[in-house]
């Protein structure tokens, strides 16, 4: 759009030095990418995608494929065989672990969306004593490394009797500081004060305003936050390993690490499991890639 307003180099501009200067004066985002840019980007994308693709190839192959050089790049026909082996392993509970991951990630995501948008709305549009100080506190908690509390968290969960159950991985994630912060920023910018005020004058309660005005307006932000939360929860490893390892309720990440431990690791089997546990995220990236990209980029500018 703003491209149109920019002065174009005059067609009669002299060649050589002057012309070069005019070209360089353009902002990078107005400069069409050259062959080298595309080539380098293609190489980087290949580098980013290859481990994933190769994981898929090995999960469809026989044992020899793992150590074949140059590497095998064509999928084989053993996917169902490998899959069957993963799912029938006795003490790994792979099928159950996928169900557990779905339960945990869905519950956490739904709850984060609800509670974070609720709190975000309160911080963005409602007046109450101490709201600024409390918001500052929320932002400060963002900077605390989570590792610090792991030992004590395990003891707390032990007192509650939740270690080894899904509650231990669900409950601590039900509301996040990042989610509150992100929703607040979005609501401040997109929900007009007048809209809230006029609904108030019409006698709507706060919850009604939230439900009928705020929620519909913040749908794009909910999509972004939901995708980011789901991915992060699904991929979480350290805390689930601590509290769920060796129990009958592993998440899929814990189950995969279980598959990969032992004296003799069968990679076509391990990677078949890993690939299956990656599929939901790949689907999300294909469907919601735009939203995920936007969420990450918006977060960067605002923080």
């Amino acid at each position: 759009m703003s491209l149109l307003e920019r002065p174009r180099p005059a067609p009669s501009a002299p060649r050589g030095g002057r012309r070069r200067a005019v070209l360089l004066g353009r902002a990078p985002q107005d400069t069409p990418a050259g062959l080298w840019t595309y080539l380098f980007l293609a190489l980087s994308t290949l580098f980013a995608a290859f481990p994933l693709y190769w994981m898929f190839v090995i999960s469809t192959s026989t044992d020899e494929a793992t150590s074949q050089l140059p590497p095998v790049v064509v999928p084989g026909d053993q996917f169902l065989v490998n899959l069957d082996e993963v799912f029938s392993l006795q003490d790994v509970y792979f099928a159950a672990s996928l169900v557990n991951s779905v339960i945990v990630s869905t519950a956490v995501t739904a709850s984060v969306l609800f509670f974070c948008s609720l709190a975000g709305f309160a911080f963005a549009k409602l007046r109450f004593r101490g709201s600024r100080a409390l918001m500052l506190f929320v932002i400060l908690t963002l900077t605390v490394p989570n590792q610090l509390g792991v030992v004590a968290l395990y003891i707390v969960m032990g007192k509650l009797g939740w270690n080894g159950t899904l509650l231990a991985v669900i409950v601590p994630g039900l509301v996040t500081a990042f989610g509150v912060f992100y929703m607040r920023q979005f609501i401040v910018n997109t929900v007009p004060d007048e809209l809230v005020e006029s609904a108030r004058v019409d006698g709507a309660t706060t919850m009604r305003v939230y439900w009928n005005i705020v929620l519909p307006a913040v749908r794009p932000a909910l999509a972004v936050l939901g995708l980011l939360t789901f991915v992060a929860t699904w991929n979480d490893f350290q805390w689930p390993l601590i509290t769920l390892n060796g129990t009958d309720y592993p998440t899929s990440m814990v189950a995969i690490s279980d598959l990969a431990s032992g004296n003799y690791v069968i990679y076509r089997r391990v990677l078949a499991g890993a690939f299956v546990a990656t599929i939901p995220l790949l689907i999300m990236l294909v469907i919601g890639g735009r939203q995920i990209v936007r969420g990450i980029m918006e977060g960067a500018v605002k923080s």
Binding site: M55, V150, L285, V293
Partner: protein
């Protein structure tokens, strides 16, 4: 401390109840709605943070000062600073700290430099713009457990893809590199995984910042005849300095807590030793081992505190350093 204005009278927007008569049920409801509902809305975050965030953090300090073993519940009581003083003489802790910093340096510096270059390429006018960006996020959404297992096969000593690729350019054809045998090579392998995971993510953060640089800054610079490379270092980087600092802090916090990659790089992952001689055992891994393999929670808690302090100091130092480097080129 609070900078908030005094709460406005709750019933300004509704006719006040006529004096003399008691408030109606509706008025009470409205008053409650204006005064207390906001607190109810933010309460879930604070409750949860209190129970599962703040309390464990404080309690962690208590645990660190006590004898607390999972295998011997009878052994309790105050340990004083014993757990902390032990850190200074513990060779395992020193080794883990050394490894953590080694891997951290090998991963953060190339990661952020490459992210900067890729961001500047993504910042050009591109066809299928969105898809290049989504492609950059493939590693970000991949579970680290899954990708680490793939890299494990790449970094096998015999018939691994990394050695094969190095062999093509004439490295290690006689003696293939044993990636798990010494510190430097295992650090490089793990740093490669970390870089793979985070380059694209950081590139998008930089890209977002680059796109908010006003266009006329570049116009002005054309007079100096600066090429794209100089333009990147002289204009773009100083202009996006806040985001650069942000990514440095993020990678410091994340990098010093590195856990999953070193855990699963070990063929005997459950032992959490980070190689037969602790070649790549990180502090986070050691905390896990001390707490849940050696069952000494008190000592693990003291280690967590030490790690926290180290992260604070390093993050502050890195912020200063980055500020200097990226601003000094103006």
């Amino acid at each position: 401390m609070s900078t908030t204005r005094a709460t406005p009278a709750p019933a300004t927007r509704r006719p006040r109840p006529t004096p003399g008569r008691s408030m109606t049920w509706r008025d009470r409801l409205h008053r409650f709605d204006m005064r207390y509902v906001p607190y109810l809305m933010i309460a879930p975050f604070f409750l949860l943070f209190l129970v599962f965030g703040l309390f464990p953090m404080v309690f962690n300090g208590v645990v660190a000062l006590r004898h607390w073993r999972l295998d011997d519940p009878e052994l309790t009581g105050w340990a004083g600073v014993e757990n902390f003083s032990r850190l200074f003489t513990d060779g395992d802790f020193g080794n883990a700290l050394y490894n953590t910093f080694g891997i951290f340096l090998l991963s953060t510096v190339p990661q952020l430099l490459l992210a900067l270059i890729i961001a500047s390429l993504l910042n050009r006018r591109l066809r299928a713009q969105t898809w290049w960006r989504v492609g950059a996020l493939l590693p970000y959404i991949t579970p680290i457990t899954a990708s680490t297992l793939v890299f494990n096969v790449f970094f096998a000593r015999d018939l691994g893809m990394a050695n094969w690729a190095l062999g093509l350019i004439g490295i290690g054809t006689e003696n293939p590199i044993d990636w798990r045998a010494d510190k430097l090579h295992s650090w490089i392998a793990i740093a490669t995984m970390v870089n793979w995971k985070w380059i694209g993510y950081n590139a998008l953060l930089y890209l977002a910042a680059m796109q908010s640089i006003p266009r006329d800054v570049y116009e002005a610079s054309a007079l100096d005849g600066a090429g794209p490379w100089r333009q990147l270092w002289r204009i773009t980087v100083p202009m996006i300095r806040p985001v650069v600092i942000f990514t440095v802090v993020l990678s410091t916090i994340g990098g010093l807590q590195l856990f999953t990659e070193p855990m699963l790089f070990d063929l005997n992952a459950q032992a959490a030793t980070g190689g037969s001689g602790g070649e790549w055992q990180t502090v986070a891994q050691l905390i896990y081992k001390v707490g849940w393999k050696d069952l000494n929670l008190g000592y693990a808690a003291a280690m967590s505190w030490a790690l926290f302090l180290i992260i604070l100091v390093v993050a502050a130092l890195n912020t200063l350093l980055t500020n200097r480097i990226s601003g000094g080129r103006k």
